[in-house]
Amino acid sequence: MPFPLRRTLLACLLALPASAQPHQGGTLKLVAASAAGTIDPQVNYTEQYAQIFAISYDGLVTFAKTSGPASDDIVPDLATTIPTPRDGGKTYVFTLRKGIKFANGATVTPDDVAASMTRLFKVDNPNAGSWYADFVGAAACLATPATCTLAGGVIADDKAGTITFHLTHPNAEFLDQLAFPFAGILPADAPAKDVGTIPIPGTGAYQIVSYDPQKNLIVKRNPYFRQWSAIAQPAGHVDEIDYTFGVTDENEITAVENNQYDYEFDPPPADRLAEMSMRYAGQIHVEPLFAIYYAPMNVNIPPFNNKDARLAVNFALDRAAAVNIFGGRNLAVPNCQVLPPGFPGYQPYCPYTLNPGTKWSAPDLAKAKALMAASGQTGQRVTVIADDYGVDPALGTYLASVLNSIGFVATTHILSANIQFTYIQNTNNKVQISVTPWFDDYPAASDFLNVLLSCSSFHPGSDSSINIAGYCNKTYDAAVAAALQRAITDPAAANAAWAKIDRMATDAAPWATMFTPRNLDFVSRRLGNYTYSNQYHLLYDQVWVQ
C-alpha cells in the first residue's frame, strides 16, 4: 500500500468517533430510575429485564439477535434445528445441542428442559395459564402447581438427547411462546419458587453475579460459555455490565450526556427531547415499536356500556395532540385501530376521523357531540385512571379534558405505576376508562387481538384480566379462533383474517387507540455498534464501549 494512501486511511480512521471502532472488553454502564423486580426469568415480565435475560439465558429456540425485520425470525438456540411439527401440529421433537454448560459448570440435559417447563407452572408464570396451557398435562399443573410433572406433555429422552412436546391442540404460536425469555432453560435443581434477588445459572454469554434492587445489578461473562450460534447467542463485546438504579430520568439524561452512563432505560423526559436532538443528534436512535397507547373503556358499566358514548370519545380524541404529549411527530404516529403499523395483519383503517378512511387527520367534534347527545350520557361523572410514569399522567389529564369537552364531567386519578396496571384490570375497582400502553410479546396479531379482547382474557374480579375493557363477544371470539386455526397452515391467509378482526374490534370501540409510539434510545458517545432488535430492543451483547 503506498504511503500517502496509508496516511489518508489513518487520518480517516482517526477522524471516526471512537465509538465507531470495534472494541472488546470494558464495562457497559446502564442506568434506570428503578429496578424491575425479581430476576427470576420465568417470573419477571418486564422489558427492562428481558434485555438482561436475552444475554443470560437460552431457550430451545429464540428470536434472532440482529436488527431489522430479521429480528422477528425464530432461530434454533439450544436445539440443533427447528423441528417440523408432527401429528397435525400437536407434537414437536427437539434435539438438544451437546456440550453446552450452565454458568455453574453443569452440562445442559433434556431433563433440565423438562424441569424448566414444569417450573413455569410451579412458580406461577404470568402466562402459564395462557401460552403454556396447551401442553398436555398443563391442566393438572394449573390446578396443583406444586406437584406439576407435565406427564405426557414434555418428555425428555437423555439417551437420544431429545425433548418431545405434546400439545392438546395445534398452536400456531407455540414457537414464539417457546422463544420468549420465560421458556429459558434452567438447571433442573433450580428452586421451585420465585428466586427474587438470587441469580439462577443460565447458558448465555453472560451471567448475573449480584443484584440489589435498591442499588445495582452486575452482569459478567459466563466462564463456561462457548459460542454455538452467533445469531442465537453471540459471545458479546463487553466484559461486564453494571446496571445502576435510583437515578431520576432527568439525571439519567444528563449523566449519559456526560458519558457517566452509556444507556438509560427509561423514556427521556419530554422537556429534554429538543435539547438532546439538537446537541446530541448522533447519540439518538429512533426505532420502531410494535405498541399502542390506548384508553380502554369498560363496556360493562356506565357510561361506556353505551356504544355511542364510546364512539363519541373516539371521534373527539385529537390524536395529534396525544402525539405531541408523547414527544412530537418523530416519536409517535396517530393510530385509530388495534394493531400497530407494520405488524402482521395490519391494514390501515381509521373510521374515527374527520374524513374516515385509512389515516387519521383530525378529530370530528361535531359528530362526537351528536353521538353524546344520542347516548344520553351527557353530564355523567367519569374518572380517568392513569399511572404516574413518564407521559402517562399528561395523557390522562388530556383525556379528561377531551371527555369534558363532549359533555362528561371528568377528572383524572393518578395512581402509582406499581399498582395502576393491575388496578385497572380488576372489575371490582369499577374503572370506567384508563390510559395504558401495550407492547407486543412476539410478532403475531393474536398478541393484541386475542390477548387483549377475547372472552378468555376477561376474568371479573381478578387483578390479571388483561381484557381491560371487559369486551366479550361470541362472534368476535369465533373469528379469532378461526384465524388462530388458519395461522397453523396458512399464515398469509390468517393475516388477512386478522385484518378483518382488527376492523371488527375497532368498529366495536371498546377502546380509543391514541397512537403508536417509537422507541428513542439515547446512548453515550463511547457506545458503538448500536443494534436494535424488534423483540429485545437494544442488544447489550452487540454494543461495544471505548
Partner: protein, 306 residues
C-alpha cells in the same frame, strides 16, 4: 400589618381568578389546549411549539402579556390563570382543614381536660396514638384509600374527586397537634381559683364550661389558626404533588408544581410560580401568627414593654 396586607392581596387575587381567566386572559385554565395559537405582536404563535428536529414539544414561555402571562404547562393551559384558581383551591383546603382541626382539637381537648378520669385517659391515649404516626404517612395512607373510591358512610357519600376529602384528611391528622396543648390548658383552668369558686357556688358544669373555660381557650385557638393555615397549606401542596390531593384537571399550587416538574429544564416558571406563591403565603401567615400571638399573649406584651 404588612403580612396581613400581603395575605389579603393574595386572597383577593385568587378570588378574582374567574375574572382574570375569562375577561383578561381569555383562557380556560382547566381545558387542554395542545394545538391552539395566540397572537403576540401581531403574529400568531403556537402555544405548544414543536422543535425543528421533530423531537419534543415545548409549551410557550412567559409572554408577560395578558394571555399566558407566565406561559403554558404541558397541556397548553395558561399557568397564570391556573395559579390563581389553584390558589383558591389551596386556600380553601387550608381554611377548611384548619376549621376541622381547630374544632376537633377544641372538642377533644376540652372534653379530655375537663372530664378527667377515664375519659381523659382514653382520649389522651388516642391522641398519643394519632401523634405517633408520621403525619405525612398517615395523610398519604388515608388519601390513597379515600381518593380511590371516595367515602360512603351511611347516607353520607363523598366523591373521590371532592375537595372535602383532602380537607377532612388534613384537618384530622393535625388534631393532636392542637388538642394536646388545649387539653393541658383546660386541665390548668379546671384547677384555677375562679373555676373552683364557681363550683363551690354550685354553678352547673356545662355553664362553667361555656362561661369560664371556652373563653379562655379561644385565645389559644386564634393564635393557632394562622399557624395551622400555613401548615395545612404546605401539607396540601405535598399531597397534591404526590398525586393524592387535588385531582386533575382541578388545580392547586401543589398540582401546578407537579405539572412543572417535567418542565424544569425548559419552562421552570411553571414550578417556580406556585412555589413562590406558597412561600409568600406561608411566610405571611407565620408573621400574622406571630403578630396575633403577641397581641393576645400578656407575657409577650410584658417582654416588649421591658
Amino acid at each position: 400589618m404588612a403580612a396581613a396586607a400581603l395575605l389579603a392581596a393574595i386572597v383577593l387575587a385568587c378570588l378574582l381568578a374567574p375574572l382574570y381567566a375569562a375577561d383578561i386572559a381569555g383562557t380556560d385554565p382547566f381545558a387542554s389546549n395542545l394545538d391552539g395559537t395566540i397572537t403576540l405582536a401581531g403574529q400568531p404563535v403556537e402555544i405548544m411549539q414543536s422543535a425543528a428536529t421533530g423531537f419534543g414539544v415545548t409549551p410557550i414561555g412567559p409572554t408577560w402579556h395578558a394571555q399566558y402571562f407566565l406561559g403554558a404547562d404541558d397541556q397548553g393551559r395558561d399557568v397564570a390563570a391556573r395559579l390563581l384558581y389553584g390558589g383558591r383551591t389551596s386556600l380553601l383546603i387550608a381554611a377548611g382543614a384548619t376549621l376541622i382541626c381547630l374544632s376537633g382539637a377544641a372538642l377533644v381537648g376540652v372534653i379530655a381536660g375537663f372530664a378527667g378520669g377515664i375519659v381523659d385517659t382514653i382520649l389522651a391515649r388516642a391522641l398519643d396514638i394519632l401523634w405517633a404516626f408520621p403525619v405525612y404517612l398517615l395523610a398519604i395512607s388515608l388519601s390513597a384509600v379515600l381518593i380511590s373510591h371516595g367515602l360512603q358512610l351511611g347516607p353520607v357519600s363523598i366523591n373521590a374527586d371532592s375537595l372535602l376529602i383532602p380537607i377532612a384528611i388534613i384537618g384530622i391528622v393535625y388534631i393532636p397537634y392542637v388538642a394536646r396543648p388545649i387539653r393541658g390548658q383546660v386541665i390548668g383552668l379546671a384547677q384555677s381559683d375562679f373555676v373552683l369558686a364557681a363550683r363551690c357556688l354550685g354553678i352547673p358544669r356545662p355553664r362553667i364550661l361555656l362561661r369560664d373555660i371556652l373563653p379562655n381557650i379561644a385565645t389559644t385557638l386564634i393564635v393557632f389558626a394562622p399557624l395551622m393555615l400555613a401548615l395545612n397549606m404546605l401539607t396540601e401542596a405535598a399531597l397534591s404533588f404526590l398525586t393524592i390531593g387535588v385531582q386533575p384537571p382541578a388545580a392547586s399550587w401543589g398540582t401546578i408544581i407537579l405539572d412543572g416538574e417535567g418542565l424544569l429544564y425548559t419552562r421552570p416558571m411553571v414550578a417556580i410560580a406556585p412555589g413562590i406563591a406558597i412561600a409568600l403565603t406561608v411566610v405571611a401567615l407565620n408573621f400574622l401568627g406571630d403578630g396575633i400571638r403577641e397581641a393576645f399573649d400578656p407575657r409577650a406584651k410584658l417582654r416588649i414593654n421591658k
